[in-house]
Symmetry: C2
Subunit: 254 residues, 2 copies
Amino acid sequence: MKIASKRTVDEALALYLARLTLRSPLSADERSALLALPARSQRVGVERDFVQPGDKVDHACLVIDGLVARFAQIRDGSRSFVALHIPGDMADLHSVVLPRVTWALHALTPSTILRVPHAALREISERFPAVSAAFWRDCVVDANVLAQWTVNMSRKEALGRVAHLLCEMAERYSAIGVGDRSAFPLPITQADMSDAVGLTPVHLNRVLKRLGEQGLAAKDSATVRILNWQLLCAVAEFEPDYLQLSRDTRDQTG
Amino acid sequence: MKIASKRTVDEALALYLARLTLRSPLSADERSALLALPARSQRVGVERDFVQPGDKVDHACLVIDGLVARFAQIRDGSRSFVALHIPGDMADLHSVVLPRVTWALHALTPSTILRVPHAALREISERFPAVSAAFWRDCVVDANVLAQWTVNMSRKEALGRVAHLLCEMAERYSAIGVGDRSAFPLPITQADMSDAVGLTPVHLNRVLKRLGEQGLAAKDSATVRILNWQLLCAVAEFEPDYLQLSRDTRDQTG
DNA sequence: CGCATACTTGAAATAGTTCAAAAGACGTGG
DNA sequence: CCACGTCTTTTGAACTATTTCAAGTATGCG
């Protein structure tokens, strides 16, 4: 594990603070306490599981760079992704209140993560109830996404499922200022992507082809281009409210 | 809305306190503050949606009696359940930090719920960080269940999915002292149950028949009898850790 | 007893899987 | 900068799980 320069850590924490304040108003004190969190950054090689099911972890992983999947494994060896994490996401904030984890974290590309000790996160949440609420709220949004994935898996056919994932990632990348609704990075192989939508790689390939043919979206190895946002959303039945990214849907407090 | 007798409310809050302390140790002060929460109980008729998507709610719903589903609706009218709530579950504790909800709460049987004002829940979490952490932790366990459902939907065939739901409900009912691993109540129609496993009612019917024929489990209108727990768990690939119900899996704090 | 709701069964249709193999991309070392 | 091996994407064809449609039987309630 390499100790990151102070500057890198500062930038990463600022990124995370931006994420939190998008959904939760925080005072100057609270903000500076968050920026003062102890943390060390770590590079993770591609295809590496850096948290394993059954581990008892003592830190949370903030994704700074790259693409990370949270997944569970089935007996037959097949995997099911339950979340995709992009820079700015605290991939396992849950572990602060439930340190024994039941899933794995896996780097889909070479990634940089910032390890933030649970002790510090617990200390800051006890000191500042608003920070505690902000953490809790972000976990709830993560669960919203999960609920949406469950809906997609259970009641949508392949085309809609894939379209929905593209819409979701477009919005999430857009919210961190990377790409927009016409193009965004998604450095993921079709094999990995198939684990995120619950399809076989073969079928996902055919579905992606169909999305292209119908003028909806096109994906190459690292990028998604959206050809018709309106239509793609319609096919996906995408309703972005659940992501809690836009100002108009955010009224949390009574 | 009928005002419940003080006694009913007290019992309901005691039920909820038992649930919370199963996962989170709380001091005497914290416990008595929880028992003193203001609340009013309400009867909900069968098939009634008592929270609608888009609602901005100002209270959380504790299920006291009955069976409640949280679900999202697809354009074509089909529904997808994202949670099943039994007595003792705070069905929408999430709404405390995200009052604008994106799903519905639906009574599958005539149910009794206890409405607990957000204001009181926020006040108690600010006063007692441990209570805040307990709420947060319970939301995370709810998300664990959701993640498991996503895995079931995406990578398990029908028999395993249904078997898994039966295992999960057996454990959860057992944890509140209702039924055990050989029999427990599940007053749900096959049509409703099919929305919980992402199958058509017709196919669910055939799968249930097969579970009976293979000597795994049998369901009638109100009850599930488990014929072979070991085998059912094997078919389901059921690993109960994610439910955080048994003492040995609970080590939350660093 | 009769009506409505829930469950059961059958047969045809289809979305998605599986297996197998070919074609394309990509980095590495010569 | 080309050749080679590896990994990823693409395509085909047979197969299977699940859906759909449609009709029948049980069940429970007033």
